[in-house]
C-alpha cells in the first residue's frame, strides 16, 4: 500500500469499516501521522452526530439491569497508570516514548540482569527478550502499565494489541512459599485463562505472553505446585488491561 493510499483510510477507520490486519497497520500509521490522527478524532466526533440523530428510547427495564450489574463489576483503578504511547503532539510522543521506554527497559534490565548473572547460558534468551520488548514498544498502540504494591512488589506490563504481544515484568515480588507456584492469568470477560508461570529470582521475573486476544485483565495468583485450572483468589497482583 502506498503512503497516499494509507492516508485515505481515516474515514473508513473512523467508522470501524477497516477490518483486521489492515486496521492494525493503519493504527501503526496513526501513531506516526499526526494529521491522520487529528482527522480521525474529528471524523469520530462527526460520526457521533449520526448516532445522536439516531437516538431511540430503550426498554425501561434495561436501566435497572445495568444499574444492578455495575454493583458487581469492579472498576478499573485510576491508580494503575496507563500510558498510551499516542498523543496529539508528535514531540510529546517522542518524549513519552523515551521516558516510558527508559523506565520499562530499566525494569527489564533489573529483572533480566539477575538472569544474566545467574544463568549465563540464558544470555541469548535474554537478548531475545530485550528485542521483544523494543518491538512491542515500537508498535503504534504500545501501552505500558505499572502496578505498585509497595513491599508486595511491582508489576510492569508492556503490551501491544495490534501485535498481540505482551511482556510482564515483576520486581520485589515475595517468593512463593514452599510447594506453591506463581501462575499468570489473562481475563476474558470474567473467564480466566492460564498464561504461564513466573519463576522469580530474588523477586524479579519476566514472562512473555503472545496471543492474548481480547484479554481485559491480567493477574498473578499463588497456586499449588504445578498450577491450577482456575485461579485461587485473592490475586497477588492484578490489573485491568486497556482496550
Amino acid at each position: 500500500m502506498t503512503t497516499a493510499d494509507i492516508h485515505a483510510l481515516t474515514g473508513a477507520y473512523a467508522v470501524d469499516a477497516v477490518p483486521g490486519a489492515e486496521r492494525a497497520a493503519f493504527e501503526r500509521h496513526l501513531s506516526e501521522c499526526e494529521s491522520c490522527a487529528q482527522e480521525v478524532r474529528e471524523l469520530r466526533e462527526t460520526a457521533t452526530r449520526l448516532a445522536l440523530a439516531a437516538a431511540e428510547d430503550p426498554p425501561p427495564a434495561l436501566k435497572a439491569r445495568v444499574l444492578d450489574q455495575i454493583k458487581t463489576v469492579r472498576q478499573e483503578s485510576p491508580s494503575a497508570t496507563v500510558t498510551p504511547l499516542r498523543h496529539r503532539d508528535r514531540r510529546a510522543i517522542a518524549l513519552r516514548l523515551t521516558s516510558v521506554a527508559a523506565a520499562v527497559l530499566l525494569a527489564a534490565a533489573v529483572a533480566l540482569g539477575v538472569l544474566v548473572v545467574r544463568q549465563n547460558d540464558e544470555l541469548d534468551q535474554t537478548r531475545a527478550r530485550a528485542a521483544e520488548m523494543s518491538e512491542i514498544l515500537r508498535a503504534g498502540d504500545a501501552q505500558v502499565l505499572t502496578v505498585d504494591k509497595g513491599k508486595d512488589g511491582r508489576m510492569t506490563v508492556a503490551m501491544s494489541r495490534s501485535e498481540n504481544r505482551m511482556l510482564l515484568l515483576t520486581d520485589d515480588l515475595p517468593n512463593p512459599p514452599e510447594g506453591k507456584d506463581l501462575q499468570v492469568w489473562t481475563g476474558h470477560g470474567g473467564t480466566m485463562v492460564s498464561a504461564g508461570f513466573l519463576t522469580p529470582d530474588n523477586g524479579d521475573a519476566v514472562l512473555e505472553i503472545s496471543g492474548f486476544g481480547d484479554a481485559d485483565a491480567i493477574g498473578v495468583t499463588l497456586e499449588p505446585d504445578g498450577g491450577s485450572d482456575s485461579p485461587t483468589l485473592p490475586a497477588v497482583m492484578e490489573v485491568p488491561l486497556p482496550a
Binding site: 485515505a8 473508513a12 469499516a17 440523530a53 445495568v66
Partner: protein, 196 residues
Amino acid sequence: MGERVRRVREARTEPANDVGAELMQRVARGDEPAFEKLYDLLVGPVFGLVRRIVRDPAQSEEVVQEVMVELWRSAARYSPERGSATTWAMTLAHRRAVDRVRSAQAATDRDETVGRRDIGRPFDEVAEQVTTRLEQEQVRRCLRTLTDLQRESVLLAYYGGRTYREVGELLGTPLGTIKTRLRDGLIRLRDCLGVA
C-alpha cells in the same frame, strides 16, 4: 486536507459534552448516582445506534448493556483531551455492535435489501425528544450536501456496520473509490455540522 479551508461553520445543537466529561470523571471515582445520570444522557443514542447495526432486539439490548457496563468499568481511562465523553461512548458502542454482527452467526440475515432499505429511512422509530429532533434535522440537511455515493457509503458503514469492502460490493464500486468517498463524505459532513 485542503477541504478544511472551505469549512463552513454553522450553529449547532450542543450534545452536552461538558456534562458528559464531568460525569465520566465522577463515575471513574465510583459515583453511582453520576453513572445513572450518564446512563440517562447516553443510552438513547447508544441504543439507537446499536439497534441499527445489530437489528435483533434481544441482541441489541445485550450489546447496549455491555457498552454501558464497560463505560462504568473503564471510566478511569477516559480523558477529555481525547475527545468528548459522548464520542468516547459512541465509538465504544459502534465497535461493540460491529464486533457482534461480524461474528459469523449474525451475518446471515443482514442481506443487501436490508442494508439498502435502511438508507432510505434513516430516521424512523426515534425518540420524540426535542434535542434529537434538532440533531436529526441538521444531520439530515447536511447529509443532503453529500453526493449519493458519499452518502450511501457513510450510511452503510456507520449505520449498517459494514466494512469498506462490503460497502464496495453492495454499491458495485471499486474499493479505492469507496475509501475516498467515505473520507470525503465524512469531511463534508464534518464541515457542514461545524465539528471542530
